[in-house]
């Protein structure tokens, strides 16, 4: 077994044992263990390791766990059990890059040390001196690991603790990110599958304009980032916009999407503020004029930084929110269960989600109902603008509800659109807290709300969204590593081993085969997706052929939409009156913006359901929910054995495969020839071998419950939960039962 850079790990017999439990004695009596090393990825280097380390099992308060070796590499922190692990091999949903005991360095959120029973957050200063007896790692994907360091040699313990703390917490340079060492040999599949449109070529943009019948102008002048390093390489602007160089790279209304009526959505960073106020206003006027010229001389603008929370608010709220899911033990869990709803509310996270969706609905109303051009602005134009514009497009354009469409949208608005992933996700552990914010996650959260409310409208599943949210913190993909297109290009060029000749190529996250085999990728698809009916295909032909799936409800079950499709020409509407609307706040009452779109939502709700038409979220209190799969998947206390959505999935898969089988039998019949058709229906490949789904838990396919005994989880401390203090509690059950029976 190859072990690069493994230092002093040869003699790891425990010499320092503080106390011994029966199992440990048994363990120590075993013959010298065979040295275990992680299977390293290409380019992965082992830094340090320690043995024996006790990994506590999270679902157990009795401080028991498994012994094994803890490693730190340039990619991850990994724990390898001394016992044979049988779980890993049988997993249906296995990530090829990291397993359940691996934590990619980027995925580490916080490390806590327990010193003399006191839990302390590990920061730079604490690392130097002592090492804690227990190390608790909170991950960005909400896993919690607890390692006991007291069984290993003091120097090893110190080394592993300092190593992990150093590599996970210290500020580092982008060059040290594993992606630049990773040299996975591209599999044949990895040859650039042009399914997801990356929007890194002028053709992609032209195609997109054609698809949406946009009447705008493609800008190629920034190919070498001469206009601005903060702008995409290629972008689209209203055709009425003139001189490009007078903007200092700011304040361009950048085209996002065109409605079939002709009006379009634009986003912009605010124009540079110069000494003279007049300049700013002039810029604004030019911008709005250009946007208005796009269609019927109408425009509405909205400054998102005025009406939505700031990125710092968002960061703070999420920090509070995620704490409710980083559960270290059962007692904590049941304690936090008591004030669950008010805790949730106090974090404000669901409210931020509601506000974003609400704002998106307002924009949709302008485009769909009023056929007005919309310009959304923001200081940088790459944070909340991305959230809102992406959401608007998902609500209005069914293409973005397909898997490939959605990925293309993320490329268009976020990756090519220069969202500062590196800073926002804090991949480099920079000390500057101002710029960190889970903006992209917020967007995924909003999409999840739409998915759970209108599941048949989406080709992808919530599992897909969860995996995507995890992948942000896997330092292998180029997708989420950079702050802008310019940043990406310059770093990639510099870091390429064959500098100048060909830039370094990291896989994009969309190459899912890097993480999952095709069987596991089945979980990304929603079996209930209602496929588009045929006759609208003509419109769709414009864009690149996309992966067509047969796995969906028979199209006959859904009536073709009777109303006009998207992107229909509306030449006659030009006769409408010209109008300009320039409102910084276009909706009347700022107190309850919800009320203004209420009517729009209600009239939409009364229309016949069309999964390929406009989609609006319900935003009333009970409708905005917690993304259970993402947040509760690692908490054993809430695993429903034999239940949860996996039960529905299995059943649906079964049904679909039967329908397919029957269809296949019919086809064979019809062709009345003895063809040995062995083309198993497509669905068969998609059918998952769940085994007995009765035994799977609701956290499937993520956490595998070790709770084989199938015991229920009995809550503790119930009485604390409910102090009914009024006199009713002490009242007799029967108002009329004072009849003495003694």
């Amino acid at each position: 077994m190859l072990s690069l850079g493994s230092v002093g790990a040869k003699s790891t017999k425990p010499s320092f044992v503080s106390y011994v439990t029966p199992e440990e004695i048994k363990l120590e009596k075993e013959p010298p263990k065979i040295e275990k090393h992680p299977d390293l990825l290409p380019g992965e280097v082992e830094f340090c390791c320690a043995n024996p380390i006790l990994k506590y099992t999270q679902d157990d308060l009795s401080q028991r766990g498994i012994f094994g070796t803890l490693f730190c590499t340039n990619f991850r922190v990994t724990f390898i059990s001394d016992e044979k692990s049988q779980e890993e091999t049988t997993k249906t949903f296995k990530n090829k890059l990291y397993g359940e005991n691996d934590i990619p360095l980027m995925c580490v959120d916080h490390i806590y040390g327990v010193y003399d029973e006191k839990k302390k957050l590990i920061t730079g200063g604490l690392v130097k001196n002592k090492y804690p007896s227990k190390m608790i790692i909170h991950c960005k994907d909400l896993r919690v690991f607890q390692f006991c360091l007291t069984f290993t040699k003091e120097e090893d313990a110190k080394k592993i603790f300092q190593g992990i703390a150093h590599h996970c917490l210290e500020e580092k340079s982008l060059k040290c990110v594993f992606a630049f060492s990773y040299s996975g040999t591209p599999s044949p599949e990895m040859q650039r599958k042009r399914e997801t449109i990356l929007f890194d070529s002028p053709e992609d943009w032209t195609q997109e304009m054609k698809r949406t019948r946009a009447n705008c102008r493609l800008v190629t002048e920034n190919e070498n980032f001469e206009l601005s390093q903060r702008l995409p390489k290629y972008f689209v602007i209203p055709s009425a916009l003139g001189d490009l160089f007078s903007y200092q790279g700011k304040g361009f209304p950048i085209w996002c999407w065109s409605h079939h009526s002709g009006c379009a959505l634009f986003k912009a960073s605010l124009p540079p503020v110069t000494q003279e106020d007049g300049d700013f206003q002039k810029h604004l006027d030019i911008m709005i004029n250009a946007v208005a010229h796009n269609y019927l001389y109408s425009a509405k603008t909205e400054d998102l930084s005025e009406s939505l929370p700031t990125i710092q608010d968002i960061q703070q709220s999420y920090n509070k929110f995620k704490q409710f899911f980083l559960i270290e033990n059962s007692t904590d869990f049941w304690l936090s269960d008591v004030k669950w709803f008010s805790s949730l509310e106090s974090s404000g996270w669901l409210d931020i989600i509601r506000q974003c969706l609400q704002k998106a609905v307002e924009v949709v109303e302008c485009l769909e109902k009023d056929n007005t051009n919309v310009l959304i602005t923001e200081e940088e134009g790459t944070d909340l603008c991305c959230v809102i514009s992406s959401l608007v497009q998902i609500m209005l354009d069914p293409y973005y509800r397909t898997l490939m469409g959605f990925q293309s949208l993320v490329q268009k608005e976020w990756v090519a659109g220069c969202h500062a992933f590196l800073d926002r996700c804090n991949h480099l552990h920079q000390k500057d807290k101002e710029c960190h914010s889970p903006i992209f996650l917020l967007f995924l959260e909003c999409v999840w709300q739409l998915v759970q409310q209108h599941s048949p409208a989406f080709q992808f599943s919530e599992t897909y969204l969860t995996v995507l949210s995890d992948s942000v913190d896997v330092p292998v993909f180029s997708t989420f590593l950079f702050n802008s297109a310019h940043h990406r290009e310059s770093v990639m060029k510099a870091e390429s081993p064959l500098a100048q000749s060909s830039p370094l190529s990291c896989p994009t996250v969309w190459d899912w085969s890097v993480q999952f085999d095709s069987k596991a990728q089945n979980f990304f698809f929603n079996p209930l997706y209602s496929e588009k009916v045929k006759h609208e295909k003509a419109v769709r032909k414009a864009h690149k052929p996309k992966h067509q799936r047969q796995l969906s409800l028979p199209s006959t079950a859904f009536k073709p939409p009777s109303k006009k499709g998207f992107f229909k020409d509306e030449t006659d509407s030009l006769k409408k009156m010209l109008r300009v609307k320039r409102l910084s706040r276009w909706m009347g009452s700022p107190d309850s913006p919800a009320a203004t779109t209420r009517g729009f939502y209600e009239s939409w709700q009364q229309r016949p359901l069309d999964y390929h038409g406009l989609l609006l979220p319900c935003l009333d209190g009970p409708a905005v929910r917690v993304w259970m799969q993402r947040y509760l998947r690692w908490i054993p206390e809430v695993h429903i054995m034999g239940g949860g959505s996996v039960a529905v999935m299995t059943k649906l898969m079964e049904l679909l495969s039967q329908v397919q089988d029957l269809k296949c039998v019919l086809e064979q019949r019809d062709s009345s020839q003895a063809v040995k058709l062995d083309h198993r229906p497509y669905i068969q490949h998609r059918l998952l071998s769940f085994g007995s789904s009765g035994r799977l838990s609701s956290s499937f396919p993520f956490a595998y419950s070790r709770n084989r005994s199938f015991k229920p989880i009995i809550p503790t401390g119930l009485m604390q939960s409910l102090m009914v203090s009024d006199s009713l509690a002490s009242q007799e059950d029967e108002a009329s039962s004072f009849v003495s029976l003694v």
Binding site: P554, A594, D620, V665
Partner: protein
């Protein structure tokens, strides 16, 4: 269009019509003050069974149609205005309030809507019979025959060497709120049972509810022992519990689950009640489940209604919901049932469950534990049997708790105990979407018919009363209606796993407010199309294909038989039929 399917909403012949205002767009219009869409003008009709309101000059047509049984209170709001408008509010048991305004009819000979409502909404208070006694719809099946206690105990596999069915309560002399058929250990004589009955509140002695088919661990229900302040004991009671323990060879221990908070159980000693002392009951462990009484539950639901109807405050929704404690009560009840089911299934121990009288919290706990333990109760018919047995035959006081036809809306005996149970069942169907044969509509139908008084099922307080009033003879059972259109109530995702125990998660993170029941009157919360529709379509598609395949196979078989040539194709791949109950 759901309401159209229910035969109950069609005006039947026996329904007497009291039409008041049928004119539209005149001064005599009735205005319904809708909290969601504002005032709506239309005509209001009240019959002896229901109230309906129609407004036809709106698009889409607006209508209200509700059985009078759902009204808990009818009151005039304010004095008549100068223009002669009368306004009154209707408070409903199903989480809504209605408000109507109309002109005082000039023809004073006509009865006012108010008077007629007061008369027909509260027939019991007016010495009239409930509408269920007038309703004469005939259904193909007789729902009164759904539950046969002897057949049910036989199905459970009652071991004759340990348990017997006693006739001691045949004439309800031992306990008037218990059923006639009771199952007790063979070693206890009827005479001993009589002694026990004087020691248990309301004579509700410990009797068998369910027995585990393998381990013989039993679920036994009772009321509190009349221990009192002096710690009274009853050796027959002690013997009975010992006999229950002995009937289960697997365990030498037993658990007594007292549903109440320990403080309340102790306070009951002052009134002669109390709980089993561990001195008197060797090998029995007493556990308190901390579930609150009917008054706390009533108050909780009242608060919930305030929070959800008519307006929902979005930004404080979660803390408002928390302040009602409704879901916390649900959690406690589910947690209690889970502990009972765990002891029986994993611990193989017998359990005794009681609260104070054993007719509120006890049926909640036993029936939920039974649903967890026995997959039969998760079928449509099995669930009917469960309700007939644990709730109706064992005397949950439906008449008192719901207040059928009684205008005394402040009655302290009213409490949403049964609603709470159905809510718990719903929570379980959420967590195990493929484990229940019935769908959400089934549960909502049960609740709607609980209040409607269209069927006799939920009338009266006990089996004895229902027999005395000849309810089965004069009324239609809800199950007649349900079982005549089963397809409406089937969960398309149902997979029948026999002997599959369900342990739900009771963490409040996994409990949800039942929006489609509690907030169903809010048009914004209505789903455009339930996802179930997709499942149904899929099933229909499969059935259609299956049929065609079968036809073709038959045809092919005929052809091969006639031509004796070798069979073309090899379409013998059999389609494994999955058990789906559609």
């Amino acid at each position: 269009t759901r309401s159209d399917r229910s035969s109950g909403t069609r005006v039947s012949d026996t329904e007497l019509r009291y039409v008041f205002i049928v004119c539209v767009s005149t001064a005599k219009d009735v205005t319904y003050i809708c909290p969601f869409i504002g005032p709506v003008r239309g005509s209001l009709t009240v019959t002896n069974y229901r109230l309906f309101f129609r407004c036809t000059d709106r698009e889409p047509v607006f209508g209200l149609d509700l059985p009078l049984g759902v009204l808990s209170r009818v009151e005039k709001i304010g004095a008549a205005t100068s223009r002669g408008d009368v306004s009154y509010g209707l408070v409903c048991k199903d989480m809504r309030n209605l408000r109507f305004v109309h002109k005082e009819p000039e023809d004073s000979l006509k009865k006012s809507v108010f008077e007629v409502l007061m008369k027909f909404a509260f027939p019991v208070s007016n010495n009239m019979s409930l509408f269920a006694f007038e309703y004469k719809q005939v259904f193909p099946e007789n729902g009164w025959r759904v539950y046969d206690p002897l057949a049910e105990y036989k199905r459970q596999g009652l071991a004759k060497e340990s348990w017997r069915i006693t006739k001691v309560n045949d004439h309800y002399e031992l306990c008037d709120s218990y059923p006639a058929a009771l199952v007790v250990p063979v070693t206890i004589t009827d005479e001993e049972l009589r002694r026990v009955s004087s020691f248990r509140a309301k004579g509700r002695i410990p009797v068998l509810s369910w027995i585990h088919p393998e381990s013989q661990a039993a679920v036994v229900r009772a009321s509190q022992p009349m221990v009192g302040q002096n710690g009274r004991r009853c050796k027959e009671d002690e013997k009975l519990l010992q006999a229950i323990m002995d009937a289960n060879a697997q365990s030498h221990k037993m658990f007594i689950f007292d549903a109440r908070p320990s403080v309340n159980a102790a306070a009951n000693k002052m009134k002669g009640g109390g709980y089993e002392s561990e001195d008197a009951y060797q090998n029995a462990e007493l556990v308190f489940l901390d579930i609150h009484n009917i008054h706390v539950m009533r108050e909780s639901l009242r608060k919930l209604k305030e929070v959800v109807y008519p307006k929902i405050e979005d930004s404080h929704w979660l803390s408002n919901l928390e302040s009602t404690h409704w879901l916390e009560h649900i959690k406690l009840i589910l947690a209690g049932a889970l502990r009972i089911a765990d002891k029986v299934e994993s611990g193989k121990t017998s359990v005794v469950v009681h609260c104070s009288d054993g007719w509120d919290r006890t049926p909640q706990l036993t029936s939920l534990a039974l649903i967890m333990l026995d997959s039969h109760y998760r079928t449509i018919r099995g669930f009917q049997i469960l309700l007939e047995k644990e709730w109706l035959s064992f005397g949950h006081r439906f008449q008192q708790r719901v207040g059928h036809g009684d205008k005394n809306h402040t009655d302290a005996d009213r409490s949403p105990i049964f609603l709470q149970f159905i809510d718990c069942v719903w929570q379980m169907t959420r967590q195990f979407p493929a484990a229940f044969e019935f769908n959400e509509y089934f549960l909502i139908t049960i609740l709607d018919q609980l209040y409607s008084c269209l069927f006799g099922t939920f009338l009266c307080n006990s089996e004895q009363q229902r027999l005395k009033e000849e309810v089965p003879k004069h009324t239609v059972s809800l199950w007649s209606f349900v079982n005549s259109q089963l397809e409406e109530f089937v969960n398309p995702l149902y997979v029948h796993y026999p002997s599959h125990v369900l342990f739900p998660t009771v963490g409040i993170r996994h409990l949800q407010l039942w929006v489609t029941y509690y907030i169903r009157w809010n048009p914004r919360m209505r789903p455009q199309e339930p996802v179930h529709q997709c499942y149904k379509e899929l099933l229909a598609k499969r059935a259609e294909l299956q049929k065609r395949v079968e036809e073709l196979q038959r045809e092919a078989a005929n052809r091969t038989a006639s031509s004796s040539s070798e069979r073309a194709g090899s379409p013998t791949r059999s389609i494994t039929p999955v058990q789906t109950y559609v």
